[in-house]
Symmetry: C2
Subunit: 130 residues, 2 copies
DNA sequence: TTCATTGGTATCCATGAGGTAACTAAGTTC
DNA sequence: GAACTTAGTTACCTCATGGATACCAATGAA
């Protein structure tokens, strides 16, 4: 980062970090990155791992990740074609915070589901009481 | 988690953790949580902090966070009204992984912007060369 | 009586993310 | 020469997200 620039700040709508931060929340991108944690994988295998993603959307996701330097795309001169996707160093570095977030989500599923039930019950009571 | 259930897995489209994981990537939710890190805040202040979010969308976001047990909403009987939003314990626990992710995004802005430039240049060369 | 304040709602509308389905290249096998 | 394979592309469509705008409730101040 140039020292003349303000520090990156996701709360600033004009700061690129905000865009990047939100890209991580992309419906498929972060899942793909986590699948790639286990090493290089080809397109069709990736599709099976991520489950129920159409080729168009998976391609879009992969192109974006490639463009952002998070993954590499290696085409093997074979027929039928073989294309491997692999995390770059940058992509691997993302894996760490992403994994913590995934673990948080997986750990707190019960708390959140409970909170939802309680919230819905309170709504019901409000309706009955009102 | 009930021991009879399979462990939570964000890669399983039927696992609630996937929905929760993706909710974190919501355009506004994770920003709101990070603003609330500094303590309780009222609606209008929150709007200023998050920047350029319409009241409708902010309300939607807050309701969802409240429903999921991440924040509390406290209405003070005043006129004009005063409503404070505050992180719950659960919300605070999310703050930790979320902050790591934010720091990752802010730290790697330059790498990603570089990667984009390189990618675009490569595209240009391919066009010129072809 | 009218305005200002705060925390929203209600309504309408545009965008785009994502889904469906069909199609292609190019060589290998039957 | 027809079918199969992988890794996509293309055209088309739908629906949810989010944005713009206007409005409201309740009360104190001017």
């Amino acid at each position: 980062m140039d020292t003349n620039e303000l520090p990156a700040n996701v709360l600033d709508p004009d700061c690129p970090s905000r865009v990047i931060f939100q890209r991580i929340g992309d419906k498929w991108a972060s899942l793909v990155v986590q699948v790639l944690a286990d090493g290089p994988i080809r397109f069709s295998e990736l599709r099976k791992m991520v489950h129920v993603v159409t080729p168009k959307v998976l391609t879009q996701t992969l192109r974006t990740l490639e463009r952002d330097g998070l993954i590499t795309r290696t085409v093997h001169a074979q027929v039928p074609p073989r294309v491997d996707y692999e995390l770059t160093e940058l992509g691997t570095s993302l894996l760490e915070p992403l994994t913590l977030l995934r673990l948080w989500a997986e750990d707190h599923v019960p708390s959140i589901l409970e909170a939802r039930d309680a919230y819905d019950d309170a709504k019901d009571e409000a309706v009955l009481g009102g």
